[in-house]
């Protein structure tokens, strides 16, 4: 196992004049996450957007869309759970996440968000199968919970889709941290395109209109937000242009535009086009999530992206005077949770 997050100790042969480093080795460490995590980012967004679509479809009596979206949400959140647990160093200890609820930890907050969202989405999806449940107390409960569960899922869904940006930004990974202002919009936009695209695949053209609209709105949001995010990231924005991350981002942009155009132009008429566009949108969303993830990882591995912005902030006279707020008080009690040892 390389002791250096994958960077072999090759000295930088041509040192960059704007900064120094220790033999070109990383300063911070990249999150030890595998593809499970960007997969979750994608799936979580897909689930959230789908629950929103489902709730809207429910209210608008669009049964086909409602069913497709609810089942998508179920599959997506199920996949999310699997991905998250699988990525842990000790999967059997997943439930330790429920020991605390820490506002300073987006992952802790996210745990509770998922904990609240999951059952709601499952229940809403289950109610699509009331036919299969033998009559009795259970089937009555499920029919009763039908709409409330869907609404509840839809209420949590937006924050489910956007909190993951906070999760990534609240780290020392330069590409994630420097883009914190716009990343929630990138993620939300991406969730919308994914949900819209998937619904376009799973529903007939006639019933997929809200999905198309959601997808187009999401595509616009995502594309604009990414540009704005890059602009506010300084030199770190390079990580979204270079290497694997750059390829993924560019691919996602292509797929998203392609998919969006497809839905606008022919999505209303052609099932085939709708299918292909939807697929492009879904894949585009996945590429966005994987691309941002990868940009973060490569920004952590290259010391330039940690050192150069910090040196700049020193030169610009950034002071560390911090506003001391009630926030500090809020942090405190959760730091003394000890085991029984």
């Amino acid at each position: 196992m390389p002791k250096n997050n994958g960077v072999r100790g090759e000295a930088r042969m041509v040192p960059d004049a704007s900064f120094t480093s220790y033999y070109g080795r990383p300063v911070v460490k990249a999150a030890p996450w595998s593809n499970d995590i960007p997969a979750y980012l994608f799936l979580g967004g897909l689930a959230g957007g789908s629950s929103l679509l489902a709730a809207g479809a429910d209210v608008m009596h669009n049964d086909e869309l409602r069913r497709a979206a609810r089942l998508t949400a179920l599959g997506a959140i199920g996949g999310s759970y699997l991905a998250l647990v699988h990525d842990l160093g000790r999967p059997s200890r997943f439930f330790n996440m429920l020991r605390v609820a820490k506002p300073t930890s987006p992952m802790s907050m996210g745990t509770w968000i998922i904990t609240a969202y999951g059952p709601a989405a499952v229940l809403a999806a289950a109610s699509e199968f009331t036919g299969m449940i033998p009559p009795g107390r259970l089937s009555r409960l499920v029919s009763f919970a039908n709409r409330p569960a869907g609404i509840a899922a839809a209420m949590i869904a937006p924050v489910l889709s956007s909190y993951t940006a906070v999760l990534l930004s609240d780290t020392s990974t330069p590409a994630w941290n420097h883009g914190f202002k716009e990343m929630p919009f990138v993620f939300v936009g991406s969730s919308a395109t994914a949900a819209g695209g998937m619904a376009m695949i799973a529903s007939s053209v006639h019933n997929a209109a809200p999905a198309r609209r959601l997808a187009i709105g999401g595509a616009l949001t995502e594309l604009l937000a990414i540009e704005k995010m890059k602009a506010s990231m300084g030199v770190v924005s390079e990580t979204l242009d270079l290497g694997t991350a750059g390829k993924l981002i560019r691919l996602s942009q292509f797929l998203t535009i392609f998919g969006a155009l497809g839905s606008i132009v022919f999505g209303r008429k052609s099932r085939a086009v709708s299918l292909v566009s939807g697929l492009a949108l879904v894949l585009g969303s996945a590429c966005t999530k994987f691309g941002v993830f990868e940009a973060g990882q490569s920004s952590a591995r290259d010391p330039k992206y940690t050192v150069a912005p910090q040196k700049k902030s020193l030169q610009d006279g950034a002071t560390h005077a911090r506003p001391k707020t009630r926030w500090d008080v809020l942090r405190n009690p959760y730091h003394r949770q000890r085991s029984s040892r």
Binding site: T20, V27, P91, P158, T171, T325
Partner: protein, 292 residues
């Protein structure tokens, strides 16, 4: 939300709820005394039963550890510098008087035990906690290896341990505990105990800070203008460190971030942006769903 002035100051333990009269303890690593012997690395591994983590020759001076990590809680860095021409203004530089001076910086890096600790802030299981000594420690019976702390650390210290099945604490986040088990018995951490030149000094943190300031003043008076303290300032981006250093060059030369800021400082803003985005999503989805 009204602004309440809360001085974290030097005592994060008290703020975390500890009710004991235990002064904050920490390290002062004076790298001008380091001889690069790596006794600290070995003593730490022996005491904490840390697995060997790689028989790879890195070819970077005498450093084959590379960096701090899950199985390297002390890391000695080696930086060879050729300082052109004449005598430099650094007493540690040995003058060859033949036109070029050589300098070999050595420094034992360790977890900073930050006053505002990113790893601690983001830990979702409560495994990481603040001890009565003001240090930050992982409880390895709680950690589930989510790895979030790894990305949150501004110094790249904590890491998730890899290895074969059966390796101690494999899959868990691991880092320096400042020998918590030794501290509760009134002992000195293993690395400080082993360091032959007292480059690694352990003790009451405010006392160490005064000592560090006196030492850096002395070095500067002796002509070593590049000497500086790192991690000593409570007004820095992490509220000051529980492990501070006397460096003889810029931090990034040693692989340290020049101006680290814990991400939690901006967490409020992050949630705000996320909230707006979520609201936008809700409204947008609602709008998209309206069908005549």
């Amino acid at each position: 939300m009204s602004k309440t002035i809360v001085h974290l100051g030097l005592d994060p333990a008290k703020i975390s709820g500890w009710d004991v009269a235990q002064p904050r303890m920490g390290f002062f690593t004076d790298t001008s005394l380091c001889i690069g012997c790596k006794a600290c690395e070995v003593a730490c591994k022996e005491w904490n039963e840390i697995p060997e983590d790689g028989l790879d020759w890195l070819g970077i001076s005498y450093d084959n550890t590379g960096s701090l990590g899950a199985s390297s809680w002390r890391h000695v860095a080696f930086i060879e510098q050729a300082v052109p021409g004449g005598r430099t203004d650094t007493p540690s530089s040995a003058s060859a008087l033949d036109g070029s001076d050589l300098r070999w910086l050595m420094s034992s890096d360790v977890c900073k035990h930050c006053t505002e600790a990113g790893c601690l802030d983001v830990c979702p299981t409560g495994s990481l906690f603040r001890t009565e000594f003001g240090t930050v420690v992982v409880q390895d019976d709680i950690c589930n290896g989510c790895g979030y702390c790894v990305a949150a650390c501004p110094f790249g210290v904590i890491e998730r341990r890899t290895g074969s099945h059966g390796t101690k604490n494999v899959g868990l986040a691991q880092k320096c505990t400042l020998c918590y088990d030794r501290l509760v018995s009134g002992m000195t951490p293993a690395c400080a105990q082993a360091c032959p030149t007292e480059s690694i000094q352990f003790g009451n943190l405010s006392e160490l800070r005064s000592r560090a300031r006196r030492r850096v003043e002395k070095l500067q008076l002796d002509g070593n203008r590049a000497a500086r303290l790192y991690g000593d300032d409570p007004n820095d981006g992490i509220g000051g460190a529980g492990a501070m250093f006397l460096l003889l060059d810029q931090p990034e030369v040693y692989g340290l971030p020049p101006n680290p800021v814990v991400a939690t400082r901006e967490l409020g803003q992050m949630w705000k942006q996320a909230g707006i985005a979520a609201l936008t999503f809700l409204i947008g989805a609602a709008a998209a769903s309206i069908e005549r």
